[in-house]
Each structure stands twice: as structure tokens, then as C-alpha cells.
């Protein structure tokens, strides 16, 4: 098989398109690159969707955490504590075991049967966990940013007669995003790294449709040689990290567009850490 044929056969293998059987012997470098790259589709799927949905929830949570009423503050604080205080790994297990306990046949609500079996699949269940997890981490970042908005900005807004919702939308929210953005960029990178845990914890991969690490591990197990597949997946992740940094950097520039040059917040990458 030439490399081009390999790409045709395995390029979309992780979502079930192409050759059904994975290569069993005579592994070529091209096969490893193609399959691991095809697995990256899942990593990007989990990361991107969880990030977008998590962003919305994180904003709500940050506001709830900053609110004066304990009825909204306490639940938000607990949510953030539980998701930041426990390993993502355990959260995956817990979610999976909970979802498995749902009745197989579906739940009857007002005569309608709601199917439940799809929730135990990785594409839904794991995505949901990642969404909640990143929401908690981002909420803490945005909460910190919300509290470090310069007092003068808020007083100036009030002096201009901007109050309530107007003040939030035009002053507080943009400033919060601007201040929190460098930390949020790191969070996005960690989130993409954390997507490798999905098929490694509890959610099974059906029909060998897994993420990049699933295939890298497959090759490492089959060839007893970790020195090829793991550097390949590392290479892909460095590319992904660069891409995320680039996109978030553009957004950061947009958020900082009206700030004087010397006061702009810059994105500093921190080492990727496990959650």
C-alpha cells in the first residue's frame, strides 16, 4: 500500500469511514501518522465543543459566584469546588457509572420515551463531563478577573450614568474577558490535553473508533516500541497547541484593541498540567 492509499483507507477511520480492520503487522510510519492523526478528530471534537459550551456556563457561574445572594453564590461555589477539587479521571468514571445505571429501555415522561443508551457513548457522556469540568475551571478564572476589574472603571461608568445591565454588558464583561483571557488560553490548552483521557478512563471505544492516544497506545502495544507512536502524538499535540495559541492570541488582540500598547495583557504559556 502506498502512503496515499493508506491515507484514503485510514484518514477517517476514527469516525468509522474507510478500512474496517486496523493494520495488524508490518506497521509503516505512514500508517501510524495517518491513524493517530485520524484520532485527533475526536480530540478536537471534544475540546472544541466543550470549550464553546463551557464558556457560556462559565460566565454564568462566575457571575453567580460573585453575587451577593447566598442562594446563587453557594451552589456555584460548590459546583466549582467539586469539579476543581477532584480528578477528571474520577469524574469520568463517576459519570459513566451513573449513566450506565439509567434504565436501558429509556425513561417515560408524559407518554414519551426518552432514549438513554446514547448517553453512555463517549461522544455524548464524555463531552458532557468535559463541558462541566472546563466550565468550573473557567468560572474560577473569570471570577478572579471579575474581582480584579479596576475600581475606577466602574466608578467612571456610574458617573456617566451607566448602570445595571448596561454597565455589565459594556464595562464589566469586556474587561473581565480581557483580564481573564491569558489564563483562559492556558485552560483551553489543558482542556485539549485532557481530551486524551476520554478513551483511557471509562468510556469504551466501539469498533476501535478512538482518539489519538487510543491509536498511539494501540501501536505501542503491538510493536512494543514506544519510541515511534508517542513522539508522533506529541508532534500532533504541539501543532494543536500552536493552533489554539494562535486563535486565542487573535481574540486577545481584539479584546485589547482599545488598551494603550504598554498596558496590554500578554499570553504567557504555562506548562501543560493534568487536572
Amino acid at each position: 500500500m502506498t502512503c496515499f492509499e493508506t491515507i484514503q483507507a485510514y484518514g477517517l477511520r476514527s469516525i468509522g469511514i474507510g478500512e474496517n480492520l486496523l493494520p495488524k503487522s508490518d506497521f509503516t510510519l505512514c500508517q501510524q501518522f495517518t491513524l493517530i492523526g485520524s484520532g485527533m478528530i475526536w480530540n478536537i471534537y471534544f475540546g472544541a465543543l466543550a470549550l464553546i459550551a463551557g464558556f457560556v456556563l462559565a460566565n454564568a457561574l462566575a457571575l453567580a459566584k460573585a453575587s451577593h445572594s447566598p442562594w446563587t453564590r453557594k451552589p456555584a461555589e460548590w459546583f466549582v469546588f467539586v469539579f476543581r477539587g477532584s480528578p477528571l479521571f474520577i469524574q469520568f468514571f463517576l459519570a459513566y457509572e451513573t449513566l450506565v445505571l439509567l434504565p436501558r429501555a429509556g425513561i417515560e415522561v408524559f407518554g414519551l420515551t426518552i432514549a438513554t443508551s446514547w448517553t453512555t457513548k463517549a461522544w455524548a457522556g464524555a463531552l458532557f463531563v468535559m463541558f462541566l469540568n472546563t466550565a468550573a475551571y473557567s468560572a474560577e478564572i473569570f471570577f478572579g478577573a471579575l474581582r480584579s476589574i479596576p475600581k475606577g472603571d466602574l466608578e467612571a461608568a456610574e458617573a456617566y450614568g451607566i448602570t445595571g445591565w448596561q454597565k455589565f454588558r459594556r464595562i464589566q464583561w469586556p474587561t473581565m474577558l480581557r483580564l481573564g483571557w491569558p489564563a483562559y488560553t492556558n485552560e483551553a490548552i489543558f482542556l485539549f490535553h485532557a481530551t486524551t483521557l476520554v478513551f483511557f478512563s471509562s468510556f469504551p471505544a466501539f469498533g476501535q473508533k478512538g482518539d489519538a492516544l487510543y491509536y498511539a497506545n494501540y501501536f505501542a502495544d503491538k510493536t512494543f516500541n514506544p519510541f515511534v507512536p508517542y513522539p508522533i502524538i506529541a508532534f500532533y499535540f504541539i501543532l494543536l497547541t500552536l493552533l489554539v495559541t494562535f486563535v486565542f492570541g487573535r481574540i486577545n488582540r481584539h479584546l485589547n484593541r482599545y488598551v494603550p500598547q504598554n498596558q496590554r495583557s500578554r499570553i504567557r504559556l504555562r506548562a501543560g498540567l493534568i487536572r
Partner: protein
């Protein structure tokens, strides 16, 4: 273990629960919590030492050392650490067996990486095939500890390097003006002062280390996740203590364990931070001085 529990099928209620929770497997389960704590206790100082070494090397005046230090710090950037965990364990295992094979295998043995297999002669296996299960477990655990120490050492080196840079330059220059040598400045001025700058990063790392411990399960160590899955799975009548699928309950237990660890760590590190800030030229130290005065 207890006389009451001799025949588990006949007992009920609280006695059953008591016997169930003190069965042999459960005692192993409680022991595995110690495994996790042992991992934390061993890894933290090792990572601290590696990190200190890495950070010192990265700001050394010898080019070769500086390159080694910087590479070590940069190593973990941009790559998910789970990949390091999977990679290092196999790589270390094969490396050790290869080195041992050089020493003990008969001359003329094959190069160990043969096609799809990694083969060394029987005498070079670590641990030896005939040794007990305890040694196999201990070896797996040791590999895990070394891997954790290397990966977290790199994170720590990153934090320490930043902390060393954060110590005010004027302090170091003053010390040099008093005629201290490089080593003396390092020992007497830089190291005592860097901790207050390193602490926020280090406490963050400690939290992350706690939350990384379930990865032991991935490395094949029989840790709490392993036992929670084993014990929680539904047991038929052929087992001494039959029950349904209780894995959810066990995992909630694990969740509570981790949340407690996090909470305690937060408290202790908060105290430590307050202690270290005393008399330091930082905002926190200044606030303390004002409050005291």
C-alpha cells in the same frame, strides 16, 4: 477475619455490613489508599529535588548545564502528560532490562528490539520471572514513582526557575558587593528568599499531583480506582457477599476522598503561605507588617 463473619450467607443487617466492609478484599482496598498517599509522600520530595536541580541547571553559567536544564523544563510543554506517563513507563522498563541484559546475558545474545518484540534473556528480566507477586507490584509501583517524579520534576523546575528570577536583583548584587562568591549568594540569599515566590506555583502543583494519582491505575498499579471497580462490580450468589452494581457508591467514596485531600491541602498551604510571607518584601508581607504595627 472475625468469628461472626465465618458464614456470610446467614448474617444480615449491620453485622453483614460490618463483615462486608472488613472482608479481605476490602482491607486491600483500604491499603491502596496508603499506596496513593505513599506515592504522594515519595514523589513530592523527589520532584522537588529534581525541580530544584533543573532550575539551578537552567540558570547555570555553564552552557551545557543550561541547555540540559532548559530542555528538561521545556520537555513537558505542549504535550499531554498522560503521554509521558505511558511513554516513560515502557521506556524505563525496556531501558532497565536492556542495561541488565548487557551485564548478565550470555555473550552473543540478540539485540533486544526484534521486529515486533522486545526480548531479553530470562536472567535479565526485571523482576525475575520466578519472583513473587509482591516484587512485581513493587517494581510497577517504583516505575510509576520514577515517572511521576520526572514529569512533576519538570513542572517544579519551571516554577522554581520563575521563583529564582523573581528574587529582587538588588539583593543579589548587594550580597556580591559584600564579597560573597556565587555559591554563597546562591546559598545564603537566593535560596532562602525564593520560596515565598515559589509557593503559589508549588501549591498549585501539589493540588495537581493529588489529582494525578488516579493515573496510577493506567500504569497498571492496583490502586484505589482498580479496587473500586473490582469491589463495586455486581457479585453473583457464588461470591461470599453477593450484591448488585455498587460501583457508583465506591466512586462517590473516591470523590469524597479527593475532595477532602484538596480541602486539607488548601488549609495547610494557606497557613504555610502566611508563615513564609512574614518579613518578605512582597505585598502580602507588607500587609502583615502594617497589621502588626
Amino acid at each position: 477475619m472475625f468469628a461472626v463473619c465465618a458464614d456470610p450467607k446467614t448474617i444480615e443487617g449491620l453485622t453483614w455490613a460490618f463483615c462486608y466492609l472488613t472482608s479481605g478484599k476490602h482491607l486491600d482496598f483500604y491499603g491502596s489508599f496508603l499506596t496513593v498517599i505513599l506515592l504522594l509522600v515519595i514523589t513530592a520530595p523527589c520532584a522537588l529535588a529534581l525541580g530544584f536541580g533543573g532550575a539551578t541547571a537552567a540558570r547555570s553559567q555553564v552552557l551545557a548545564l543550561r541547555i540540559i536544564g532548559k530542555t528538561y523544563i521545556a520537555m513537558v510543554r505542549g504535550i499531554p502528560d498522560i503521554i509521558f506517563f505511558l511513554f516513560f513507563v515502557i521506556a524505563l522498563d525496556q531501558g532497565i532490562e536492556y542495561l541488565k541484559s548487557l551485564a548478565v546475558c550470555p555473550a552473543g545474545s540478540l539485540w533486544p528490539w526484534q521486529g515486533l518484540e522486545f526480548r531479553v534473556c530470562q536472567e535479565a528480566k526485571v523482576p525475575l520471572g520466578a519472583s513473587s507477586a509482591f516484587w512485581h507490584n513493587a517494581y510497577g509501583f517504583a516505575l510509576a514513582v520514577v515517572t511521576f517524579a520526572i514529569v512533576f520534576g519538570a513542572f517544579t523546575a519551571n516554577v522554581m526557575f520563575g521563583a529564582m528570577q523573581a528574587v529582587p536583583k538588588a539583593q543579589l548584587e548587594t550580597a556580591e558587593a559584600y564579597g560573597m562568591s556565587h555559591a554563597q549568594v546562591f546559598r545564603r540569599i537566593l535560596v532562602p528568599q525564593m520560596w515565598v515566590f515559589a509557593l503559589p506555583g508549588l501549591s498549585n502543583l501539589w493540588m495537581i499531583l493529588i489529582k494525578a494519582t488516579p493515573l496510577l491505575f493506567l500504569l497498571g498499579v492496583e490502586d484505589i480506582v482498580y479496587y473500586a471497580r473490582e469491589l463495586g462490580g455486581s457479585k453473583t450468589q457464588s461470591y461470599a457477599y453477593p450484591h448488585g452494581d455498587w460501583r457508583l457508591i465506591y466512586f462517590i467514596g473516591l470523590l469524597i476522598f479527593y475532595l477532602t485531600m484538596t480541602k486539607i491541602s488548601e488549609k495547610v498551604l494557606g497557613r504555610l503561605s502566611a508563615n513564609l510571607s512574614k518579613g518578605q518584601a512582597t505585598a502580602a508581607g507588607e500587609a502583615m507588617r502594617r497589621a502588626g504595627a
